[in-house]
Symmetry: C2
Subunit: 223 residues, 2 copies
Amino acid sequence: MITHAMEDYLKAIYLLQKGKEEKVPTSVIAQHMHVSAASVTGMIRKLASMELLNHNSYHGVKLTEGGEKIAQEVVRHHRLLELYLVEIMGFTWDKVHHEADKLEHVISEEFEEKMAEALGHPTIDPHGHTIPTKEGNLKETSYEILAEIDAGSFVTVRQVNDGIPEMLRYLAGLGLIPGARVQVVAKAPFNGPLCLKIKGCEHHVGREVARNVFVEMSVQGND
Amino acid sequence: MITHAMEDYLKAIYLLQKGKEEKVPTSVIAQHMHVSAASVTGMIRKLASMELLNHNSYHGVKLTEGGEKIAQEVVRHHRLLELYLVEIMGFTWDKVHHEADKLEHVISEEFEEKMAEALGHPTIDPHGHTIPTKEGNLKETSYEILAEIDAGSFVTVRQVNDGIPEMLRYLAGLGLIPGARVQVVAKAPFNGPLCLKIKGCEHHVGREVARNVFVEMSVQGND
DNA sequence: ACTAAAATTTAGGCGTGCCTAAATATGACC
DNA sequence: GGTCATATTTAGGCACGCCTAAATTTTAGT
């Protein structure tokens, strides 16, 4: 029996395990989930006994195929829900992460399918993340962090971190949303603010904010 | 802190507590929730300590105003969800009870409002039950049980029990759905089947089924 | 009123998932 | 290679919500 808590752990590990072969340390999971490291160890033991992940004591964990499959389903639920809440129900994009975090564990497969149909089987959620297919296909492109882009560059926003509602409201206010064209006009030294030109207007944005925005470099003359 | 389990108990007691002053016995709650009587006693103790219900040992429980308010919110969630799932998402009416039972505990107030708006602030769910308003107003009309209607009577279906998917599929197949006009043509003795005329066709329906259908007597010449 | 059956509560136990504190393993630096 | 800081695991405890079995109260019948 898979509990909601187990699903949450599998999802967290899945999202933290960037490289396919990468092992995720206990402490990283603990920090991400706001629980103690001891709690993570306890849950890891159980998930390992269910062969949903492999655990080398003191050396982190890696999902098995079975574990990844479950995690991917949860992520699919989450991202479909986010999009459904925004597109069909009219939620603002800052509220949907929290709502989806609760709903993702309780909706049925039929609910998932109804959402996918209503949305035309989408592949990208409101924050720019790829929605895994029902078969588990997922090519999550890895973009560059806006905070680390050189001054003078032209970029297109592709993803934003969705965990902090206030941040999302701020980004929406600036127009820093997936699809937006941005020029990095200047970067202040010592982790100072970036000067960004968005829709013709210049805005000064802190590094911390710019670390939550992921962009693609615009090729010269690119549309 | 109100847990999902507490909400489930409050909802059950609310639904079982027909008369306003009626006390609901432990055993009735236990049977309705498919848990042991001892479990009910345990939970009752906690809910009583939170002043969500009053408990006279050995003499059943009655919700306080606070408890009723929470129960009513859960029931509102449940019934709005059922209607939303049928009307907006295209679920068949036999599946929505189970889905709503899970979702009712996790949706936000905003989710509730979005549903209510999308549905035009409805007052009746797909099975004919009244949806409590946000303020907690609710006049649940009590109808008569189809199984106990005398032969020869004309009735209109108003409500059906929603707990058994297979029963709902059967009822839908017969056309025994809220709004349907039905004549009780005959009743076999010894708890035997009823002969019902529905949309011009006669059907023989077991008593057990007819106990799940609630009807209003049609006044002569009533539209 | 007394007794037996039924309903209810108490007692004790289990699995889940969290915590803190203590023990232990790792890895980096000298 | 030893030592120390850090990461991780173990140990022990707690709240929740469920269970069965035993004790208790209510109730109905004689």
